[in-house]
């Protein structure tokens, strides 16, 4: 996707914020594009990993946080694993996601932040994940009730998914971890 640099003065805020959260020095990038060549979703997105870095270095702000890759990156870490400069691209993507939530940017297809929120909520409440609970909450949140509706009876019959949450976790540490985070 072409990178359009507007004449308006822009803040170099995003690059600094990414650096602060991830601890990664983006400026070492050679633009060799090994990350993009190995990225499993590169063909499905408009802005591949190497272009994210280019945009960061050009101080492109909003369009970078709103890039489709931010919530389509599968965190597979192929990019980091193959980078000749050991740039932790996966950490950069995590930083962009954290910034995107902080700025409350437009929700993308699939609403991954909502899923993450409910996943972590079940961990906070039960100490362990509760699949059916978070799936139900996510489905209500996305009004997508029918996807996979045919699968749950079969999964429950095979006991391939738990009906009830686990109550065996000792929440001593978990409670403190979540309290400290807020």
């Amino acid at each position: 996707m072409p990178i359009v640099i507007s004449k308006n003065k822009r803040e170099a805020g995003l690059l600094n914020a990414v650096r602060e959260i991830s601890g990664v020095d983006v400026a070492r990038c050679l633009q060799c594009k090994k990350c993009t060549n190995g990225c499993p979703v590169a063909t499905l997105v408009k802005v591949p990993p190497s272009e994210i870095i280019r945009r960061l270095l050009l101080n492109e702000d909003d369009s970078t946080v709103n890039s489709d890759l931010v919530w389509m990156c599968a965190s597979c870490e192929t990019c980091f694993s193959r980078c000749p400069m050991q740039i932790d691209m996966a950490a950069i993507m995590d930083a962009l996601r954290i910034i995107s939530i902080k700025r409350n940017t437009a929700k993308q297809k699939g609403n991954v932040p909502l899923f993450n929120k409910w996943f972590l909520k079940t961990v906070k409440v039960f100490g362990r994940t509760y699949d059916l609970g978070m799936i139900a909450a996510y489905k209500v949140g996305t009004s997508n009730y029918f996807q996979d509706a045919d699968k749950f009876p079969m999964m429950l019959r095979k006991r391939k998914i738990a009906l009830f949450p686990s109550f065996k976790a000792d929440k001593k540490y978990v409670t403190r971890i979540f309290k400290k985070k807020n």
Partner: protein, 290 residues
């Protein structure tokens, strides 16, 4: 052989089959697995996408439990394994992170608990000789595509599992069991992982390419070491066929289920009835060594 064993949340839900097979296999091979009492979630992908310290403190809490038990930690779930290895790596490498994690936990953890994957325990600690002696059955030349996925092998700096581009540890286990590990290029490709629910379209794209490559390479089944990969490749296979007009019909089993079969354990005890794509062809291929 005694270890702290972290089953991971999926062991109680979508990966009960994996849990059952590990328990059965360990019984026969004299591997004592003790679960840290009250173990909690590792945070998986949602945690590291949300907050760095959260994503390190959650696995560290469980590692701290193992430290108090004075045992090494054994994990099977690739995501849990990855998060624990990354937590140890970051805590050891960066003093300020160690301090922040300690503050979050309310206790100091130094990143010193050794974390092993169950397959590593089988090959490196139980050993090839003891395994060969214990196997009563053989895979009898069954063509197996070993699928490692992302989180065991990457990032190499933290997990140090095997070669990040061409791992072979699962292949060697299959060979010991008398199976044929096929050489194929999608061993460490991504199946779409945590997008199972949110971006099913991405899972269908990526998993379709993996299933297609396994088929092209002549695989009769796929052995996996990650609960997320198992669900994406097995449960989603019918959806993939529908969307992609393909005809995939390849059983996706945990490598521990194959180990169990070769130890003479009944398929039901290994949870093989939970597979969506029938593993009947695998069960029928198993031959007694006697």
């Amino acid at each position: 052989m005694k270890y702290a064993y972290y089953p991971g949340c999926s062991a109680e839900s979508t990966a009960r089959d994996q849990y059952m097979s590990i328990r059965e296999v360990s019984k026969i091979l004299d591997i004592e697995l003790i679960e840290p009492k009250g173990w909690t979630c590792c945070g998986s992908t949602p945690a590291h996408q949300t907050d760095k310290i959260l994503s390190l403190a959650l696995p560290a809490a469980n590692l701290l439990m193992a430290k108090k038990m004075e045992l090494d930690m054994v994990v099977f779930c690739a995501a849990c394994y990855n998060r624990m290895k990354v937590a140890n790596y970051e805590i050891q490498k960066y003093p300020d992170i160690r301090k922040e994690v300690a503050d979050s936990l309310g206790e100091e953890y130094d990143g010193s608990v050794n974390v092993h994957h169950f397959v590593e325990v089988l090959i490196k600690n139980v050993g090839v000789k003891k395994l060969q002696e214990a196997f009563t059955h053989s895979l009898d030349g069954l063509k197996v595509a070993n699928y490692y996925g992302c989180l065991l092998v990457r990032p190499k700096e933290a997990t140090n599992f095997d070669d990040p581009e061409n791992p072979t540890i699962m292949d060697s286990l299959i060979t010991i069991m008398g199976g044929e590990s096929i050489d194929w290029p999608h061993k460490v490709e991504c199946c779409g992982g945590g997008f199972a629910l949110t971006r099913t379209d991405v899972v269908i794209e990526l998993s379709n390419s993996i299933l297609g490559m396994a088929k092209a390479a002549g695989a009769e089944c796929m052995a996996v070491a990650c609960p997320m990969c198992q669900v994406n490749l097995d449960l989603r296979q019918s959806d993939i066929n529908k969307v992609k007009h393909s005809s995939h019909n390849i059983p996706i089993v945990y490598i521990t289920q194959l180990v169990g079969l070769c130890l003479g354990i009944a398929p039901e005890k290994l949870g093989m009835d939970k597979c969506v794509v029938s593993p009947r062809s695998i069960i029928e291929a198993i031959k007694s060594n006697y």
